[in-house]
Amino acid sequence: MTKVGQPEKMIINGKRMDGRSFEEFRPITVEVGILKRAEGSAVFKFGDTYALAAVYGPRTMHPKHMQDPQKAILRCRYSMAPFSTTDRIRPGISRRSVEISKVLNEALSNVVFFEDYPKTGIDVFVEILQADASTRCAGLNAASLALTEAGVPIKDLISSCSVGKVDDQIVLDIGGNEDEFGDVDMSTATIGNEDKFVLLQMDGIITKEEFVELLELARKGCAEVYERQKNALKEKYKTGEIDVES
């Protein structure tokens, strides 16, 4: 069944609709520490998808009865700004954002050293300021940088990207119209560049062999994102020459 507005072909002469090759990311932008009030913050963009993450904490956990005497508690909230999509989104919590908040929390939980801060709460807020597909991936990349900025001890960064199938072709980094009119959309995230998937969701129909292909492409993509995230941190905190320790 074709959808309203579906283009006849999404791959023309070996290129995708926005001119990308199959394993190419949209332009990636990474910025660390742009907000002043939050303990940590970061921006991550895949093309026009613009995600902002902020971390508050570790801080006193309220309500008190929800404190864990031995560990910090991570709370994650994913939200889309009303102006982020073509059709305005009604402000407030949607079922989709509740689900995404949950999976982002579960992904980040793999790396946070919770025992280092008993009784506290660590709040991660992900705001999608502009949405052009792969928003949860951009959000997770930003969140993991924001946690680092905030000084929350973590095992490694979490790196996330989307893969999918468009016109029977497996591709990396699903963009706007590929999300709407493509066949398969799979969101993934790994711990750094390791073979450890902490986020995995797939819509569409794939054979088991295609699943394995998508996983391999996802690993490559996440590894590339990881390099970008690391570079952003190192660039921002360049030390110059080694100074005398005080």
Partner: protein
């Protein structure tokens, strides 16, 4: 664990590292704060600068909240009180309590006295951390020659891990600022700084510059120049 793995270290003193970065391999090196061991490798948990001491590798974080330690001198704000204790905000996810016995030397008749006459809500104090229990209950004491109420002046907060940089080698940096701005300055280990004197604004500016550029070389010269120029 393979005992044949040759121990090697991959980082230098004061090198900037990020979480997950491999610092060393092999069993010869031991993790200090800010690191964790996985199999044979020592990795960083934090964004920070490497600190080496003998066989220990630690990371000085560039950011992070204050975790109270016994013996720390801190500046706190009294935020509440009960009959025999004050509850103090010490710029940490953990509140601290100051028991009456650790704050007042004389006998207090609780039937007749409201302890607010000693320290009231909103008072700023310099105190010492007496004890931190395993479950992070923090007790303060005023039983220290530096402990007192801080009156007037202004307060700002910096990242706690940057306090050593602000103080400087044998206090050199902080003395420089005090001298050039003619201010009393007290720096709490918890990142709270109290300034009182002639050029409070200039002192604050210098302190915030040190905080944001603590990892960059040439800082001492830059601060000296800034203070010379004055305001």
């Amino acid at each position: 664990m393979d005992k044949d793995i040759k121990s090697e270290i991959f980082v230098k003193e004061r090198q900037l590292v990020i979480p997950g970065e491999i610092l060393a391999r092999g069993l010869d090196f031991l993790p200090s704060s800010g690191c964790y061991r996985v199999n044979n490798e020592l990795k960083s948990k934090l964004l920070g600068l490497v600190k080496l001491k003998d066989r220990f590798i630690g990371i000085i974080p560039l950011a992070g909240v204050y975790i109270p330690k016994t013996g720390d001198g801190i500046i706190g704000l009294v935020e509440d009180m009960q009959t025999t204790i004050w509850i103090v905000d010490i710029n940490s996810p953990y509140d601290a309590i100051l028991p009456l016995g650790e704050a007042v030397g004389e006998y207090v008749d609780l039937n007749r006295t409201d302890i607010s006459i000693y320290y009231d809500i909103g008072d700023l104090i310099y105190a010492k951390v007496l004890n931190v229990s395993k479950s992070k209950q923090v007790q303060l004491t005023m039983n220290d020659h530096r402990a007192r109420k801080l009156i007037g002046g202004r307060v700002l907060t910096i990242t706690p891990s940057k306090v050593p940089r602000l103080i400087g080698k044998q206090g050199s940096m902080i003395e420089l600022i005090k001298d050039k701005t003619k201010c009393q300055i007290i720096v709490g280990q918890n990142g709270v700084v109290w300034i009182k004197g002639e050029k409070e604004g200039l002192a604050a500016k210098a302190i915030l510059t040190i905080e944001s550029e603590s990892h960059i070389s040439g800082l001492t010269d830059k601060i000296t120049a800034m203070l010379e120029k004055g305001e």
